[in-house]
Symmetry: C2
């Protein structure tokens, strides 16, 4: 199986389907908008190697200059743009690609070196701080751009300077005497080198990726010390001098480099770095399979999903290091102790999930891939494709209202969403064939589209007709062109007990969450339908998260409340209670055309079973942090009934609709939910929440 950045060309999204519309927004708005931003901020011309005023700015996060990522911003934009040119030419965008490629070529130094900051600003500091200063990260994104560029234009214009740059890395870094035994502080180049190998077939590209992976976290890698310690000492750094994102000295877990990957028991530190690293480990498995790395991947995947992932698929609770906290520590927002859930991290989870599926076709990976795609990733861009989020909390607060922004100083997320949507169809369906005679198709996410691929000159074609993610009815139409074909279709976890196929199969072959359709069935039934009923459902985080909340979901989508649809809210829905025991409320679903954004969504409404927490007074012992409940009687007598401390339910109502009032006296008719991806798109006050506190009726 190819990487999704290549295989997406097999699958054409259907016009007017959900993902197609999202992708068209990027084509029509985002690429041009982002190009404009690149030009305005100085990024576009930066490879001309002239001084830019912002190069003198104090860094927001010492020791990382704010402009240090500019190479990657350009690289990601080129990569994203290229994916859209395959199916439709665009002169403005292509002229920009060509101009940028020319500038990048001209920026290369004689020895192959190719980096804006270390050529213009700090030439003497080249290769002195792999831990913090992103030389390899930037190179990685330029390499990915070059590979994509090569796939489109079939020329070496961009790949040539990058191959030359990699030659310099191969000389500088490695196990040999006189070489630095280093590896990137921010993994990315490992992924890029594996993709580069797929074009060049030069084993040293694979070799360098593997070296970075194997060497990472070696506690005695350089002169008997951790490489980062050794290079810090060589820089003259003092023992207690450390980046802002290191809470303590030598917090190498921030970089997933506190010990070798094979010894790591849990995902730690910066979540994007962790995901990019593990994606590379999983991708390398295709060429150099090793069961010890496979085991490490499974262990770290499970640790992340079971103990460190939000209901939306988001990862990373802690702002300081943009990453993972201890297990089960998943507060909903800033005022509860954190919630970072960076857009790029969701993209990283998707990348990792896809590579894991190549190792092991298990729906547990595809379930999470789908969750991230439709929730924690997609929410990172506005419906018009011109505003973005970096952080994706599950609840807003006065300190961090739920808003989208036009751009970021560290602008990793916006172009990352663009490129992900560029090749998004590569995540949906993958194919393989063993010989000229037999083929297999894996349907991970049945979004509407047509997959076609060549098997010995014959074109096998699978047409999928659906309105995913809004409805679970999916029509399949296979044209096997005489090739013996099997299909494996993921049964989403949320539909595992209620899906059905027509024409029926007596004993469906479901393994690891995939329905395997054998070729005899497909020969008799080239057209078949599967229904995955999208009943609204309640989901909740693990009890050990201490969240005690419940959220609404439907199909692949997680829902949230926003002030735009619930105008009475003044406290970010913090005092709202959803009373789900002993009976859950009725949920009403409605198709809505939103006039502000033009978006068609399924909204949900709950008109009963909710109430408000009333927090009494300001007193200490009488009420707030140290509450006293109704006393028990010691023996005999009647037991007093018990209400939660400091809680008075203003109104408790069953399904018979009654008026519910907020603590400040506003009447609330019902709760209006919209998909989480849709949040912060209309002009609101920034109040939003996914998980609602559980009450009792």
């Amino acid at each position: 199986m190819a990487q999704p950045q290549v295989s997406f060309l097999q699958t054409k999204l259907k016009p007017d389907s959900f993902l197609h519309r999202k992708r068209e927004v990027v084509r029509e708005n985002t690429l041009l908008y982002q190009l404009d931003v690149l030009k305005k901020t100085g990024r576009y011309d930066a490879f001309k190697l002239q001084w830019h005023d912002s190069y003198s700015d104090e860094p927001d996060h010492w020791p990382v200059p704010n402009h240090l990522f500019w190479d990657s911003d350009v690289g990601k934009w080129i990569e994203a743009a290229v994916y859209f040119i395959h199916d439709k030419k665009n002169e403005t965008i292509e002229n920009a690609i060509h101009e940028l490629v020319d500038m990048i070529r001209s920026a290369q130094q004689d020895d192959g070196y190719l980096n804006i900051h270390f050529t213009v600003v700090a030439p003497k500091e080249r290769f002195t701080n792999f831990r913090d200063l992103h030389e390899l990260y930037n190179a990685g994104h330029l390499i990915e751009a070059a590979v994509a560029h090569h796939d489109l234009y079939h020329n070496d214009k961009l790949i040539e300077p990058l191959v030359k740059y990699v030659d310099l890395f191969c000389k500088t870094l490695g196990p040999g005497e006189g070489q630095k035994h280093g590896y990137p502080g921010h993994p990315e180049i490992e992924i890029a080198l594996i993709r580069l190998y797929e074009v060049t077939k030069d084993p040293k590209h694979l070799e360098l990726a593997q070296y970075f992976i194997d060497e990472r976290g070696n506690l005695a890698g350089q002169d008997g010390k951790h490489f980062y310690t050794s290079e810090a000492e060589a820089r003259g750094e003092r023992p207690y001098e450390r980046p802002n994102y290191y809470p303590k000295p030598k917090s190498y877990w921030y970089n997933s480099a506190h010990k070798p990957i094979l010894e790591q028991e849990s995902v730690e530190g910066h979540s994007v770095r962790s995901m990019y690293l593990l994606t590379a480990v999983a991708a390398l498995n295709k060429y150099r399979p090793r069961s010890d790395y496979q085991k490490a991947l499974q262990r770290l995947w499970n640790n992340m999903v079971d103990k460190k992932m939000y209901l939306t698929g988001g990862i990373g609770a802690i702002k300081q290091w943009e990453g993972f906290s201890i297990e089960y520590f998943l507060p909903n927002g800033t005022d509860e102790g954190g919630c970072y859930s960076e857009t790029c991290a969701a993209i990283g989870v998707m990348m990792l999930a896809e590579r894991m599926l190549q190792i092991d076709l298990d729906s547990k990976y595809a379930d999470i891939m789908e969750l991230c795609l439709y929730n924690s990733m997609l929410c990172g861009m506005s419906t018009d494709g011109k505003r973005f989020t970096y952080v994706n909390q599950l609840a807003s607060s006065d300190e961090d209202p739920d808003k989208k922004a036009a751009w970021y100083t560290c602008a990793c997320c916006p172009p990352n969403v663009s490129r992900t949507l560029g090749f998004v169809s590569g995540y949906l369906v993958t194919t393989s064939h063993d010989s000229d005679k037999s083929a297999n198709i894996n349907v991970h996410i049945p979004a509407a589209g047509t997959t076609a691929f060549d098997v010995g000159g014959k074109v096998v074609k699978l047409d999928i007709d659906s309105t995913w993610p809004w409805d679970g009815k999916v029509g399949f139409d296979l044209d096997s062109a005489g090739v013996q074909t099997t299909i494996a279709i993921r049964i989403p976890e949320w539909s595992s007990s209620n899906w059905s196929i027509s024409p029926k199969i007596d004993e469906p072959d479901v393994r690891k969450g995939y329905l395997h359709l054998p070729s005899p069935y497909l020969r008799s039934n080239s057209q078949f339908t599967i229904n995955f009923p999208m009943t609204p459902r309640f989901i909740a985080p693990h009890p050990f998260t201490n969240q005690n909340v419940i959220a609404l979901a439907r199909g692949p989508l997680v829902y949230c409340l926003e002030d735009v649809d619930n105008d009475w809210v003044t406290d970010h829905f913090k005092s709202l209670l959803l009373n789900v025991q002993p009976h859950v409320p009725t949920v009403k679903e409605t198709q809505v055309h939103d006039k502000v954004t033009g978006e068609d969504i399924v909204a949900m409404h709950i008109s009963s079973h909710f109430s408000f927490l009333k927090v009494d007074g300001q007193g200490a012992m009488d009420g707030v942090a140290l509450g006293t409940c109704a006393a028990t009687e010691m023996s005999g007598g009647k037991k007093p009934s018990f209400t939660l401390p400091q809680t008075s339910f203003l109104e408790v109502n069953g399904d018979q609709k009654k008026e519910v009032m907020t603590p400040d006296g506003k009447i609330v008719e019902g709760l209006n939910f919209v998909p989480y991806y849709f949040r912060a798109n209309r002009e609101g006050r920034g109040h939003m929440r996914v998980g609602i506190r559980i009450g009792t009726s």
Copy 2:
């Protein structure tokens, strides 16, 4: 009103009363044990100014040498010891006091300087790092020792060198040109200077305390910069070099010095520093009352108690800076995100509460003072007085089992408990008299004791007979000796609705939680009884803490579960559910004599209404961090009943006793609770929990 370190002499605890026994343990065991430790570790002889091997140790917390607190350890031991000599001479202890005093005197330099580290180890670094290096903190504890020493021996042997040392501070620090505009990184000397003033009546001692308070947090205090920044630059510190306890550069909130006290809206940073600072502000009010500081004190007190205090009275959730987190962030233990609750911080809360009562006689201060005394402070020492805790979590974990330790490298807490118990009766009752004819007695905590004080040659005497904290029946016997006397008695919050007095009063005068007994009543009833029924009660933290737990309390005592009494536990009671809705369980109380410790306690037992959370499997979508609940039906049909996600109640039982089984199959007969202060005294496995997860029956 005098400080409790002086006024305690008025109140004699009754033999065999609870606090008397605790105090005798210190006299009989702790002082000698700690003296022995001082000798073994090198602290005892350190004022001889010889080199000690440990002076070369790498600091545990750069830039603070591990031995930096030794001056204060000695000072606190002297201070504690002195309080016990007042009522009973002890040759061993007094010889040690005299010898230490001689050593301290001989350690003073010609210019008055008096500090072990900066004389022996780093003489050139004197007065260069007030932020981190504890010169003023150490001096403060030596001054407090000197004042206590003076009160006992009525000589100047220890106070003389300290006054001379303070002269040096007065020269070095202050608003004048050429003076350093500095103040201590760890407040303490402010408290000490006010106490010193009470002996010397030298206004410059008060003046220096006020300077430290007023100057603190001045953002442009030294050369247009924050003093700490200015002195760090002068030391050649680099901008990104910072102590381990500073999560980010210039985290001056750690020192409560991020802005002037008058502008601070919330308690922040290191909790002991915060408490010592505010205690000094409140103590200064006696001599220099200012309404702006009073308002700041009330604001910060309320912020702390309402939003940043544990059920036990403990403060400080975060280990890295030993202090406060954001509001309502109060996890029970390490595996939930933190819980520090340092013993010294509880002592600081008691000190602050006592000073606040002098400003405003409001039971809200005394309630918290009592809570800390009997829970978060008292738990810091073992029943035999030879083992201690520094951190007092509300729940143990595998990482931090609940254990007491013999000593600490940074040994602030053990001698702090000793000195607190030395003058503990000063917290119980305070007195005042306006003239020779009228007197007032405030009873904050009615522990058994006799308070006697002189009013114009007549001795007014109040005898309190109780078994506090075990029973709420309190007998009072006043001998007013013809002085017109009033008494104000605190009505504990936990008894505010069920207390009674005999002989009865028709319209009791209760103001701010104190029952004011006028002199006519007392003339007719020199003996009277008040009953504060100690019914077991359930208490819970604020809902915004997201803890969803309930704890058991009785009178002033908070209770906990320990593995010693509940031997089936293997998970620190993490999966235990107490099912308090709609009815709370019956609580059975028993008087228990513990054979291991000799302690007599009231234990509590619950034999129903509990169950266990069963957390299914390891799968992601099917179970753990991302749970899916039973789906709702959309319309019509029957509503499915709802159980909490991932939760299966193995057995739900009412008061009819049934067998309850743990997830690993052990039968549990009931839950056995002991007072929190009593925890970690018997040889257990370190499993302990205060707040039990709320379930439903």
